[in-house]
Amino acid sequence: MPKLSAILTLTSSLILGVGGVWIAYNVDMLPVSASMNAPVYDELYRVLFIIGCILFIGMTALVIYSLIQFRRRPGETGDGIDLEGNISLEIFWTAVPAIIVLFVGLYSYDIYDRMGGMQPLMHDHSGQMDNQAEKVWGGIGSGPIMSSSTKNSSSLPIELTAMQFAFIFHYPKGDIISGELHVPVGKEVSLKMESKDVIHAFWVPQFRLKQDVIPGQPTILNFTPTKAGNFPIVCAELCGPYHGGMRSNVIVDEQEDFDKWLKENSKESI
């Protein structure tokens, strides 16, 4: 008999595992991915989704199974089994979540590093410039801006000023002021952001990126768009009555279209 229950346990775990992976690969809940770090994000999301599905379905199934299997039948009296604990079981289910959490933590650290999150942006180490270019996402950081990202000749510097209830973009190159963000495909953009009044947040769901725009403390957000198109910029931090209406667009153009736009709008000749 123990053999049968072992086989049953194994089969159901197998079904659960395969089912979790199947769901994670077939239920797509994310918007289009349009930046270099978005595929990395989606990879993390998928792993978390697989683990989450397995744990959630498994726990729910256990609870429902227990409720049905061990329900009190009509006319039944007396108590359940006298089981106050089981050290090996308890060690087992301390260890399993600990291992899962450790795995998820290390994995997400790796993802974070691949996104460039570990880059200390506030430091002006010129030696790090080469490293930074390799990262798929320039990372987000804060603190006194030492123009570290603008020194990096390969990235396009743009300044963002947020206020109630608008985003204003300023292109130092050409001295352009725009209410919409125009960027070329495949080029790293370095946004230096600061708020005029309250805290706002710059969020482009298709880029999987968000950074608060804070008064009195500039923040930097680096990203590389990979898909031409028109994506929403959403303010994600409650900033007042018109918070829901504080939206803009990021227009990702091919390089030549972007150059054309830059030329048409710039106040100085480039």
Binding site: S66, E84, G85, V101, P120, G216, V234, A236
Partner: protein, 546 residues
């Protein structure tokens, strides 16, 4: 301190009003105070719920067309503040804590009965103040987080009243915390060891430690914020050289532990309810105790995971990711232990049991999304979106509120001496469970796809999902009707409960229903095995079965 095992000669009964009037008096009886907390909390729940309904009505259409935008922000601020500070925290701590803890430790009342009454009577005036601020000059409109500089620039009257009432409620919470710690540690009946206490005592001990350590930080922060508003100081005002991020650190130093202040007592209550209705001992008592204390310690060092997009340095993000994710370990232990408590039981599928099991399922989902949100790279996309809204409602509604309902079904016979109608209770559970999941599960998708939280207007592509969510909210609102009907009808015409309808072993059931003043007519019972359910023979038959 001497502990009398016999009733005192002059019970305070004679000095106090009797009948229903005692519930409106400055009563010193812990059971009266507990029920005052419960009923008062439930009234605020109805108000907070109506505000939630207003939010869901506004979100039926993508335009801001149901109420003015300023009012919408006031409504969401009041909804959050009321639900946290006037419903969940007072009920899972104050109501059930005051009612049950003296029974569990074998005492005749709390350690400081007057402080206890003061703690309760701070709540109605602060709640009244908070809600009526809407009619004065508009309530606070910067969210329950009151982040500066927004909270400094929005109309000052509402914000200052908000700060005052949260300060009073925080004070009430601290008084309660001190009282619980003193009662559990010092008023235990001689012969009762800490490790023989029912689990809810441990949960309340852990919670009270969190309350006493972290609430003063919130109080200090809000006082500084009020200086910024009325005296134009510059603690958090960047135009005067202040720092807005410091406020967030201080605020979340309280407000993340506040989540545990809302769920740890719920964990304790579930640990009482599950063994009784599945007729089995609580599985793994010792690991349960250690996981509560583990959650308390870890809960104090995770606050900055609310600030991953605030401009936090990388090392800090890493530290808080790891600390937060590790809370899943002690929490996971508790959930596995509860399922093991069900396993092999003789489970009565009554309303108390169903709500507790609904809690397990909902909370597991909330916990999984919580571990995901702890991961910085995951969080930078979904932070401050409807994904987070879904996550924390799975924790505080699917978790704490389900447990509150479960506990009401479980302890109502003790409170009133009358049984609730189980069929109506099961009906209440089904509607609540479906409505809750219909309301909040789709919000995960909304957040992942680009809908930020706290908005009155949104991208029209999200309309259908928002409408589904609003239908769920409507079901949740309707689900209170069978509950209220059940309460009133049972109170008047319900079956007599008797002293111990569930055949339970914990001390509150070893006295009459409702219990007399000072809890027991004679000597307080000494319960050394609060979870001594289960049959040795059943063990054998179980082995034969497998």
């Amino acid at each position: 301190m001497t502990i009398s095992l016999k009733p005192s000669d002059s019970p305070p009964e004679k000095l106090q009003p009797t009948g229903w009037l005692k519930y409106l008096s400055f009563s010193l009886d812990h059971k009266v105070i507990g029920l005052q907390y419960l009923v008062c909390g439930f009234l605020f729940y109805l108000i907070g719920g109506s505000l939630a309904g207003a939010i869901r009505v506004e979100l039926i259409s993508p335009l801001s067309d149901f109420m003015p935008r300023e009012v919408y922000n006031q409504v969401l601020t009041l909804h959050g503040t009321i639900m946290i500070f006037l419903w969940i925290v007072p009920v899972v701590n104050g109501a059930f804590g005051n009612y049950l803890i003296p029974f569990y430790v074998g005492a005749r009342d709390m350690a400081f009965p007057r402080l206890n009454a003061v703690a309760f009577w701070l709540i109605p005036p602060s709640g009244f103040m908070l809600i009526t601020s809407y009619f004065i000059n508009g309530a606070a409109q910067s969210g329950w987080t009151a982040y500066p500089p927004l909270s400094i620039t929005t109309p000052a009257a509402g914000q200052i009243i908000w700060i005052l009432s949260v300060l009073l409620l925080g004070g009430s919470s601290i008084f309660g915390g001190i009282n619980f710690i003193a009662t559990i540690l010092k008023l235990r009946r001689p012969g009762l060891k800490l490790m023989q206490l029912p689990m809810y005592c441990w949960a309340m001990l852990g919670t009270s430690i969190l309350v006493v350590l972290s609430t003063p930080v919130l109080a200090g922060t809000l006082i500084l914020l009020s200086f910024d508003i009325v005296a134009h100081t510059g603690f958090f005002n960047p135009s005067l050289g202040g720092n807005v991020i410091v406020y967030q650190h201080l605020f979340w130093f309280y407000s993340h532990p506040a989540v545990y202040i809302m769920v740890l007592p719920a964990f304790g209550l579930v640990s009482e309810i599950l063994p009784i209705h599945s007729r089995k001992p609580l599985f793994g008592y010792t690991t349960m105790v250690f996981s509560i204390m583990g959650i308390v310690v870890l809960g104090l060092v995770v606050w900055a995971h609310h600030m991953f997009t605030s401009g936090t340095p990388p090392w800090m993000r890493l530290f808080f990711t790891i600390a937060t994710a590790f809370i899943a370990v002690p929490t996971g232990i508790k959930f596995f232990n509860w399922v093991a408590t069900l396993w092999g039981g003789k489970i009565s599928l009554n309303a108390a049991m169903l709500f507790s099991c609904g809690f397990i399922i909902n909370f597991v989902l909330g916990g999984i999304t919580g571990v995901a949100l702890a991961q910085v790279p995951f969080d930078v996309h979904v932070h401050d979106t409807y994904f987070v809204v879904a996550h924390f409602h799975y924790i505080v509604y699917g978790g704490s509120v389900f447990v509150i309902f479960s506990s009401i079904y479980h302890w109502f016979p003790k409170f009133t001496g009358k049984m609730l109608n189980e069929n109506l209770g099961r009906f209440h559970f089904i509607i609540t469970f479906i409505g809750f999941n219909l309301c909040f599960a789709p919000q995960h998708w909304l957040g992942l796809n680009g809908m930020p939280r706290r908005v009155a207007e949104y991208d029209p592509q999200f309309q259908l999902i928002n409408q589904i969510s609003s239908v769920g909210a409507l079901l949740m609102a309707l689900s209170t009707l069978p509950f209220l009907w059940n309460i009133f009808q049972s109170m008047l015409y319900g079956d007599k409960a008797g002293d111990n309808p569930w055949n339970a072993l914990t001390p509150e059931w070893l006295t009459s229903s409702p219990p007399p003043v000072e809890n027991w007519k004679g000597e307080a019972p000494l319960v050394l095995e609060p979870y001594g359910y289960g049959e040795k023979d059943a063990n054998k038959t179980q082995e034969e079965m497998t």
